[in-house]
Subunit: 353 residues, 2 copies
């Protein structure tokens, strides 16, 4: 029998749904798919590879015979159940932040540090979405000219928060535009979002975020540290240092949620140790796997979330010199956080196994 | 007779409408208001100070007896008609970019360089919206610790493009959400936007922008230079140097349009010559006129466009150390670009006269 027994923990979530699709579209050799989710979703049937699989409740006993377990069910469930999967003989690719910074857990973007998976002890971590998307163009530039400094401002879609947040943006938008909840069904259906009962504050559903997201921005992703950085902002720094095996890059960022459904964007300002021109960067990135240069301002061509949505590649453009500093360079990227930022990267890691 | 004869050129536009409101709310001593706009709007009646004024067509002959002329009718109309206003004896406060970088035209943010108006030769320029909003917190920090480097990523509302763009975001949002054009009337009415006939591409109105703005981002504000910067990005640099009378601050930025109706936001990463702590910055900004510190992450309090909308103050928060660099500091701001970013600043300049 060829192929692997693959479990997806969190199979009904925003990322889990994409994991099933990516396993199909990349023809991952799946002998058997085990779809796992919370008790609430158990019994649901999900389409997969022309057939259907029934969702089972995620428990410690779920991993009998499983060879590869893709986890995207939140950090606390990863901590609870990933050890059971490893004990049952599976290799876990974990999309949560639970194990990312542990010394014996490789943190992998296949285009950057595929070799790191060799040292795994049963768990391989998938980096945070905004980190993966930034690593894709940053690594080839780093190899060519050594990046010494990197300042990032993010424009992150609600899909990063999950299916509930996609629904929340749709409902709030409908409500702000003066129409009650009956009207957004078409959009919800189009996005494949389940219709959870909303928690309404001031006439607006508010489950995923503490403030309105429709027609607004929240400079708040994750939780706040006492120093006022967010967990998301620290991840950008710590995870990039680990993925690049290079803590000398001085990284800092501000992460912001925007009323966009699916793809994340980032405005990136870097300095390099050796000079590199925008044209050289475009050439390097044109050759880089998983990156597409979209950079023809005269024709209004630049990365945008609506163009990155559904694409495997990270789109990079607005590549230009920053003349205000020595060897300064800026670019803008958009990438589908559910694909390369999550599900696709996880499946690529599984392919390396 | 007390008070001044004040003309507003572009009185029916997004900024002009706010200029009339700000003249009222700040009780500017207006003896007579002359509302000027294009021929298309001539004859319209606008409410002002409890009465009504009839809009007249903006021509070279419009300025007889006018003492102060507030221009917000676009750069080409400023170039055409501001000299006529000056010749008629008026002092022009121009909101366009037409004269901003000319040597004998003061470029003024009253909280920063009020004294600069002394040298005027009839025209005083109002800076670009994103520049004004950034100058407000940057100047007090600069005075305290000398800002040596400033990297900005903007999140700019559609109001910066004008009334057409506000309508475009509303219509596109309705269309994306599966509802035809009949439905957004409530929103348009609420925003005070006129119902221009749309130019429809792929089912979406597209007049103000080359791409969909609903649920999307455009890293494109203004026009592109051959070096791939936008006019908006250069304004941030050149105008700040002029306002601060200090070209030593190394500024660079990426400007991005976001699907927000009214207030602009900016993620700002700076370095200072002398050390300054986040607490010291909060103290300085708490005392700074026109700035309000909104910075209590533990209570989910930070600047957001929906809170800045309609406010005279620039909201500043997420103030924190950037430990990746010596004397590094970051903050996030939101400010109403139609008020402090345009109409309010112009009226404040007029008050200085």
């Amino acid at each position: 029998m060829s192929g692997k027994v693959v479990a997806v923990a969190g199979a009904t979530g925003a990322v889990g749904t994409e994991m099933l699709k990516v396993l199909e579209t990349r023809r991952f050799p799946v002998r058997k798919l085990v779809a796992l989710a919370s008790a609430r979703s158990a019994g649901k049937r999900l389409g997969f590879a022309g057939g259907e699989v029934e969702v089972q409740e995620l428990t410690e006993g779920s991993f009998d015979g499983v060879e590869i377990a893709l986890f995207s069910a939140g950090g606390s469930r990863s901590k609870l159940f990933a050890p059971a999967a490893v004990a049952a003989g599976a290799v876990v690719v974990d999309n949560s932040s639970a194990f990312r910074m542990e010394d014996d857990v490789p943190l992998v973007v296949p285009e950057v540090n595929a070799a790191a998976i060799r040292g795994h002890k049963g768990i391989i971590a998938n980096p945070n979405c905004s980190t993966i998307l930034l690593a894709m163009p940053l690594w080839p530039i780093h190899r060519a000219a050594r990046v010494t400094r990197c300042i990032v401002a993010t424009y992150q879609a609600v899909s990063g928060t999950g299916a509930k947040a996609i629904s929340e943006l749709a409902r709030q938008t409908a409500a702000v535009m003066g129409r009650p909840a009956y009207a957004e069904a078409a959009l919800l259906a189009g996005m494949g979002v389940r219709d959870d009962r909303p928690h309404v504050v001031d006439g607006l559903e508010r489950v995923a975020y503490p403030h309105q997201i429709a027609f607004n921005l929240l400079p708040h992703i994750g939780d706040f540290y006492p120093e006022a950085d967010t967990t998301e902002e620290r991840k950008l720094v710590d995870e990039m240092h680990k993925i690049f095996s290079d803590a000398s890059i001085r990284i800092f960022g501000t992460t912001v949620r925007v009323p966009v459904f699916r793809a994340h964007s980032e405005a990136v300002h870097i300095q390099t140790a050796t000079p590199i021109s925008p044209d050289e960067v475009r050439e390097i990135l044109a050759e880089a796997p998983g990156v597409e240069v979209v950079d023809d301002p005269a024709k209004n061509r630049y990365p945008m979330p609506i163009e990155a949505t559904g694409r495997a590649e990270v789109l990079v453009g607005r590549i230009r010199r920053d003349p205000s500093v020595e060897n300064g360079l800026a670019f803008f990227l958009s990438g589908d956080q559910l694909l390369k930022g999550a599900a696709l990267n996880a499946v690529q890691i599984a392919e390396l196994l």
